[in-house]
Symmetry: C2
Subunit: 405 residues, 2 copies
Amino acid sequence: MDRFETNLRIPGPTSLPSTVREAGSRQMINHRGPEFAGVLDRVTSRIQPFFGTRNEIVVLTCAGTGGLEAAIVNTLSPGDPVLAISIGAFGDRFAKIAQAYGAEVTRLEVEWGDAADPGAVRMALESSPAGGFKAVLITHNETSTGVMNSIPDLAQAIRDIAPAALILVDGVSGVGAVPFEQDAWGLDVVVSGSQKSWMAAPGIALASLSERAWEATRTARMPRFYLDLAKHRDSQRDGQTPWTPAIAVMFQLDVALKHMEQEGQEAIFARHAACAAATRAGLKALGFELFPDLAVASQTVTCVRLPDGLDWKSFNGELKARKLVVAGGQGKLTGQVFRVGHLGSVTLDEILAAIGVIEEVLVETGREATPGAGLAAAERAGLAALEAAGHAAPDTSKRIARAFA
Amino acid sequence: MDRFETNLRIPGPTSLPSTVREAGSRQMINHRGPEFAGVLDRVTSRIQPFFGTRNEIVVLTCAGTGGLEAAIVNTLSPGDPVLAISIGAFGDRFAKIAQAYGAEVTRLEVEWGDAADPGAVRMALESSPAGGFKAVLITHNETSTGVMNSIPDLAQAIRDIAPAALILVDGVSGVGAVPFEQDAWGLDVVVSGSQKSWMAAPGIALASLSERAWEATRTARMPRFYLDLAKHRDSQRDGQTPWTPAIAVMFQLDVALKHMEQEGQEAIFARHAACAAATRAGLKALGFELFPDLAVASQTVTCVRLPDGLDWKSFNGELKARKLVVAGGQGKLTGQVFRVGHLGSVTLDEILAAIGVIEEVLVETGREATPGAGLAAAERAGLAALEAAGHAAPDTSKRIARAFA
C-alpha cells in the first residue's frame, strides 16, 4: 500500500500483493493441458496444511456461498434432519441453503455477538429428532459479527453426543489466517474462498471432504450438477476441472500460496493475531466498544459498535474521502456497527494507517478523541502480540517484507 | 500474438488482448461500493446489444455450465416435461442438468455433425406429452462438433407448435461472435460465458431472461440458492451481486466490452466469419475433411476429421512443440477429430499462423501436403469473406488494430 492506494479494510476481498495481482494478467492457457494441471496440483497441495488435512482439496469456480451449497447438496438428502448453529448472517445463510434444498433444519440461534457454546450444542443434540441429526452446520469465523467460534470444542461436543453426524464447516473467512486442523478435529467438510486469507481475487471456492463425507456423497440425493464434488475430484485426478475454471484466479492463488508457504504458518498466524490485537486496541482507545466479547473476537475481522450520535453514512463518507474503506453492519446490524477486515496480506502498518485515518476523522468532526491515542494503543498491542507469539517485531517485519518481495 | 507467445486456438478460453489481460491485475475493490456498481452497469449494458435484448443481463460467478444450470433451475419444477434438442456433448450436458433436477426430459438426438432440423423439432413437439413441453433446450453453437444451429428457425418452429414452451438457449460459445437477436427471435433464456466471444478470463456467466422467463421463476420449484437469478437481479438493481463476484474477471469484461463497442458488431461478425472461412479453407487444402456440413459449420470453432493414419497424440505433440494449441475430440469423437477455435480477439493473422504450423507438421512428418497450399487457401478465403461482408481487408485490419490499441 502506498499513499495513493486505497486501504481496503473490508473482510474480503482483500488487497492483493503486487506479485499476486500481476498473476491475474497472465495470458490464458488451455485448461485441459499440462500447465493448468501443474497450477491445480500446486494450489491444492499447498492449501492442505492450512486446512490441517490430508484430504484432496476440491477447487470450485464460484463464491464462498457456492462452496457452502456444495457442502450441503453433496452430502445430504431432502428431509435429512440438520442442526444449524447460527451466530450471525453467514450462519443464517448456511441454514437457508440447507432449507432451500429440503433439509429439515433445526436452528440453534445464538445471540449476535456471542460464540456458540459447546454446552448449548450438547443440549440441542440431546433433544435431536429420532435417528439423530444427519449433519451439523457451523460457521468458523462469523464475518457479520466479528466472532470466531472454537471449532475444536464444538466438534468435540458433536462427536460426544452425535458421533454419526457430519460436521460441515463454513471456513470461508478464517481458514488460512489462524491454526486449523480439519483432520485432528474430525471435521467432515470445510469450505473456504480465494478472496479471504488466500490473498487472491474472488471466484474460487475450496472444499475439503473427509472419507466419511465422500462416503455420504454416494447416497446423498439433493440434486446437483455444477457443484458436484465427486465429478470435480475425479477430474482433478486427471489434472483438470469438469467445467472451465477461473484460470486467472488460479494463477493468483498459485503465487499467493507460494508466498504463504515461504512466510510460514506460524508467522502468518502471528501477523494476523497482531493485526487483530492492534485493530481492537486502536479502536478501543478511540472510544469504540467491541461488538463481541474480547474472548471470542475474530482474528480476521473486528466489529465495533457505532456510538450514539455517530452517523454511519457521514462517518463512512469521511473515511472513504481519506481512502480508507471499511465495511458497514450487515443484516440487522446495519447502522449499528462497522467492521474492519484484517486478513490476507494485511500488515501492522496498514492497520496503523487505518486507525490513523479513523482518529483523524473523529478529531476533525469534533468528537472526543485524543490525537495519537488510537495509534499508540494499536502499535503497542500489535507489537506485544507479535512478541507473545515469539516474533520480535523487526524480525517479523523483515520476514513479511521478504515474503512479499 | 508475437512469435514467443502460444497460439491458443481452442474454443475458449481465448487469448486475451493485452489491455484486457492487464485489467485482471488491478487491485481489489469493495464489491459493495460505487466503483464496482459502475463496472457492473457498464458490463451489463454493453452486453445487451450482442444478445439482441433489452432484458437485464444477470452476472453469475461460475462457468458457462453453471449458467446453464441457472437457466433450468430458475424456470422449471421437478416433473416438468422438457424437450432437449441435442446435437453434441454440450446439448447432452444441458439435458443432463435438467434430468439431475428432476425434469421429465425427452431427447431429440441429432447425429453429431448435423444441425437440428426445424421439421424434426416440429414433429417432436407435435407428439409432446399431454399439456405440452414446459421448456425446450437448445444449443446455439455446439462446441464439440463445430456446428451452429439456426436459432431463429428452431425458435419459429417451437413458437408455431408449442407457443407456451419456454425456449432456453445455451449461447455460451456463439453469442457475441455472430448476429444474435434474443428479443426478435422470442428466446426466453440465453446464457453465455466470459471466456468465449467476450475476450475475458473464465469465471463469469451471463444470463438474459425474457419477461415470461422471469414470470416462470416465481413458480419454478427446482431448488436453488447460489444460482438464484431473481436474487441476482434484485441485487444488481442496487449495483451489487448477492455473493462476492469474480471482480478481476469483471474488470477484464469491462475493458473487453469497451473494445467490442469500439470495433462494432458488424466488424466483429465479419472478422469471425473471415477467420472461420480461412480456417475451413486452409484445413481443407491440407486434406482435412470438415466434420459437419459446410452449411451448418460454426463461425467460432472448426471441427475436422483426423485422416486415417494420423495419430492424434503424436500430431498434437508436434503442434504443441510449435506453440500451437488446438483442441482434440470431445466425448465419443475423441481421437477422431480435432478442433480449432476462432473466437474472441482472433485475427486472420493468427489463423494463418495456425494453418502454417499444421502445414509444416504435415510436411515434416512426411504426409502429402503441398507447402503453401493451406496458407494460400486460408488467406484467399479469409479475404474473400471480409470483402463479401463489405470489409476490405486493409481497412478491417486497421480497425482491428485500433480496437486493440
